[in-house]
Amino acid sequence: MACKSCKQFPVYATQNHEHLCKNHFSRYFERKVFKTITKYKMIEKADKIAVALSGGKDSSVLLYLLNKFREQYQGFELSAVLIDEGIPSYREITRKDAVKFCRQLGIPLKIISFRQETGKRLSQLVKNKHNPCATCGVLRRYFLNKGARELHATKIATGHNADDEAQSIWMNSIKGNLEFSAKLGPVTGMIVHEKFVKRIKPLYFMLEKEVLIYSKVQNLPVTFVECPNTRLSFRNEIGRILNELEAKYPGTKQSILNSFLEILPALKSHFREGSKHLGTCKLCGEPAVKEFCRACGLIKKVKQ
């Protein structure tokens, strides 16, 4: 089998069994991402985009492509924010990669560490050792929003791909958290608060496998390490089941996204109407549903 366009050695086969070489795969990948950005009006010229950068493959590919998109089409501003939870044998590796990559691209990087902000690493902040991902998620989102605002960002771009989104849709359905699903989609915009920075997901329709191949083909400085906590997560379990289904019925993840996007407008309007007024945290001034935001609540509990 050779590339369908140029007969070169293929690196990827699409679901329609079309084989693509390095160049044609890169072109296919970039076009699909740029089309998503344009279709969902993710970026405007006046935007200041902060990429949530972990140093892993997804966010590194995202940063690389947004930089390319900026050079080719529009002149928006680009920066990156990295949240360092202090996970040993993991974050220090990806942090180094992120610093190197930002330097290489000439993009400003802001690093926020749990230790600096709270005086503790993730492991010291987690009460339930069997589920560190929940605590980590709350704090990461909190510091990401804060960090992006400090960079005067108008939007945060995250490296969520089709696999992540399909997993989230399923997780929310299984746990009965439909309101959380209303916050999903290529552009999240349910929360209205002057301090909340809107999120965009340019890799929304790209499979995780495609992202990995693109990062390899482009030779991006990414060390492939896995967060040691990943194996403990519910997301990991759902991911495995979805991968089994995808192997048996190719196109499963894409179908989940497509069906979800059909009902998303209805979900958004249903939950927007019934949503509680978003207030401000009495401790830190960040968006909060209750008296204190979830991050301050967590930190307070640990310090007690």
């Binding site: 191949i213 492939f224 991968n243």
Partner: protein, 70 residues
């Protein structure tokens, strides 16, 4: 005639040895090894290949893990 080939899982460095008939593809190897093809990207001699690649003698085959977290 069957020959023995070794698949290396890149991240864990775990080696899986399997016997396959001549002319087998990466798809055959992944299937025989009991690995989900959705969760790996095959590389032969450090170059990414598709599952239709026909395995040759002395090929160094690695499976790159797709699934990551963080």
């Amino acid at each position: 005639m069957k020959s023995t080939i070794t698949l290396t899982i890149e991240r864990t460095k775990k080696k899986i040895r399997i016997a396959l008939p001549a002319g087998s593809t990466i798809k055959d190897a992944i299937s025989k090894a009991g690995v989900n093809p959705v969760e790996v990207v095959p590389a032969v001699n450090n170059e990414i290949v598709t599952e239709s690649y026909k395995i040759r003698n002395n090929d160094k085959i690695e499976l790159l893990s797709v699934v990551s977290g963080g």
